[in-house]
């Protein structure tokens, strides 16, 4: 026998057969099996412990490994290949009108707080809208405004620029361009302006950094 520790006296052929049997029994079993359970299905006198050792050795480093869980044996996908058993499926979704408007305001007016978004839109923003936008990866929480209540300020991300094909938010069209494209019609009251957006990563003068707990997942659900 190649294995010096194997004290089994089985002839190589019988040994190989016994190994095949253990392999098949474990493969076909719906549950992990104890050494005794395996032994009960093998010819009398089989050295199950050494067979299991040998089988485990044969499978080491392979795509499937023989593992012992709670005292019982089972085949399992190698840990480093677990990703093969997950498949991601993209579900294309359209943004709601409210989400699109909120996103646009954040893009133009960033850094901007929720209250400011609401003031511009003239309606309150539902929690879900900001959640959805944060989920797109196009928005990020930038910091906290240095005003009473220290509201969170929002801005756009690099993914936003990539998705909309912009080099920088400064490329978003201004008032005249929007008017030229027919998106804003002619009668614009005095004092109406479209901001020149900036998304510089460094905070503006009236922004504080985020608090550490803002970065916890639950912080996405800002009230």
């Amino acid at each position: 026998m190649a294995e010096p520790t194997a004290i089994t006296s089985l002839a190589p052929e019988a040994q190989r057969m016994a190994l095949r049997m253990v392999e098949a029994i474990l493969f076909a079993s719906a549950e992990p099996l104890s050494a005794d359970e395996i032994a009960s299905r093998l010819p009398d006198g089989s050295d199950v412990a050494s067979l299991l050792r040998e089988l485990q050795h044969a499978y080491s480093g392979r795509g499937v490994t023989l593992v012992k869980v709670a005292g019982k044996w089972m085949f399992r996908t190698a840990d480093d290949l677990a990703f093969l058993l997950r498949r991601e499926q993209d579900e294309p979704k359209k943004l709601s009108r409210a989400a699109l408007e909120t996103l646009a305001i954040i893009a133009y007016h960033q850094p901007v707080t929720r209250a400011e978004i609401e003031e511009i839109r003239g309606v309150s923003t539902s929690k879900g809208t900001l959640d959805v936008l944060l989920e797109t990866g196009w928005l990020r929480m930038r910091g906290r405004r240095k005003t009473p209540g220290r509201p969170i300020t929002y801005g756009t991300t690099e993914d936003f620029l990539i998705h909309f094909g912009l080099e920088s938010v400064g490329d978003l069209p201004g008032l005249e361009e929007l008017r030229g494209a027919g998106l804003l019609d002619g009668r614009i009251p005095p004092g109406f302006s479209v901001p020149e957006p900036r998304d510089a990563p460094d905070l503006t003068e009236d922004e504080d950094p985020l608090d550490p707990e803002d970065l916890l997942p639950s912080a996405l659900r800002e009230d």
Partner: protein
């Protein structure tokens, strides 16, 4: 009797008897040659008794055997299922064709052709039986060979993928800004100091104002912006009147537009 003529089973798998319709209780006893699946099956069993290759079987001899067998059953006054009798009639017809000299080449098939056709059918039925036996004795999944007993299913992670075009983004922005410039009338929020706030401030002072003190002194921290001053003064004055009525505060004004002085109602009044 029928069983005696039966050929060998076609494989180790024991086949169940086919379900056949049972005769009604008051109908004449119908022996449908139990164990045979119709006349062709019976013919095949008889043919196997010839112990020759089905391809070289004597159809004439087979027809004789079948007719004799049927005759035997009828002597027992047993009624046979109709298709056995139809087959008997057809075989008798075949036999006469085989024995008579060939007619002029016509459109009718010759006796030899009919015999060949029957031999073919028998061969084909036997071939299908053998095929069924070979099929059923294969290593079958779930009986002889097994797939992985504990499969590890692929977990499907659904991930929303949002999309929007720049045009949609810009039209959304422009549309709502446009909407706002038409419909929003900016009513500036009035900065108001409520009566309750005035009262709260004064009540906190009560008990500590022994001397006549101008009200402005207490209000000064609140009189920061010019817009709010009138509101603060009005509310504080209103609240002070309420507190006087409740006997908690005393008010004094020495002349028109002179400062309004106040002190605790309980304080000793030296000046009267």
């Amino acid at each position: 009797m029928a069983e005696a003529a039966r050929g060998e089973g076609s494989g180790p798998e024991t086949w169940e008897r086919p379900d056949r319709p049972k005769a009604d209780a008051d109908a004449p006893l119908v022996v449908d040659v139990d164990g045979f699946e119709g006349p062709l099956d019976l013919l095949l069993a008889l043919a196997r008794n010839q112990k020759v290759d089905l391809a070289r079987i004597s159809i004439l001899a087979l027809a004789d055997q079948y007719l004799a067998y049927i005759e035997e059953l009828r002597k027992l006054r047993l009624e046979l299922a109709a298709d056995y009798l139809v087959m008997a009639a057809w075989l008798a017809f075949l036999k006469s064709k085989l024995l008579l000299p060939e007619p002029q080449a016509g459109d009718e098939p010759s006796g030899q052709e009919l015999a060949a056709a029957l031999a073919f059918r028998l061969q084909r039925l036997e071939a299908m039986r053998d095929a069924a036996a070979r099929l059923v004795n294969r290593d079958r999944a779930g009986r002889d060979v097994f797939p992985r007993g504990a499969p590890e299913p692929v977990e499907l992670l659904r991930r929303s993928r949002y999309s929007a075009s720049l045009f949609e983004l810009l039209s959304a922005y422009a549309a709502q800004r446009q909407r706002q410039m038409v419909s929003i009338v900016h009513v500036r929020r009035r900065q108001v100091w409520s009566l309750a706030e005035g009262r709260e401030l004064l009540e906190r002072m009560i008990g500590s104002i022994a001397e006549w003190t101008p009200m402005e002194v207490f209000l000064s921290p609140y009189l920061v912006s010019p817009e709010i001053r009138p509101s603060v003064r009005a509310s504080a004055f209103g609240a002070s009147l309420e507190l006087v009525r409740e006997g908690k505060l005393a008010l004094r004004q020495d002349g028109a537009f002179a400062p309004i002085l106040l002190r605790d109602a309980a304080a000793r009044d030296d000046d009267g």
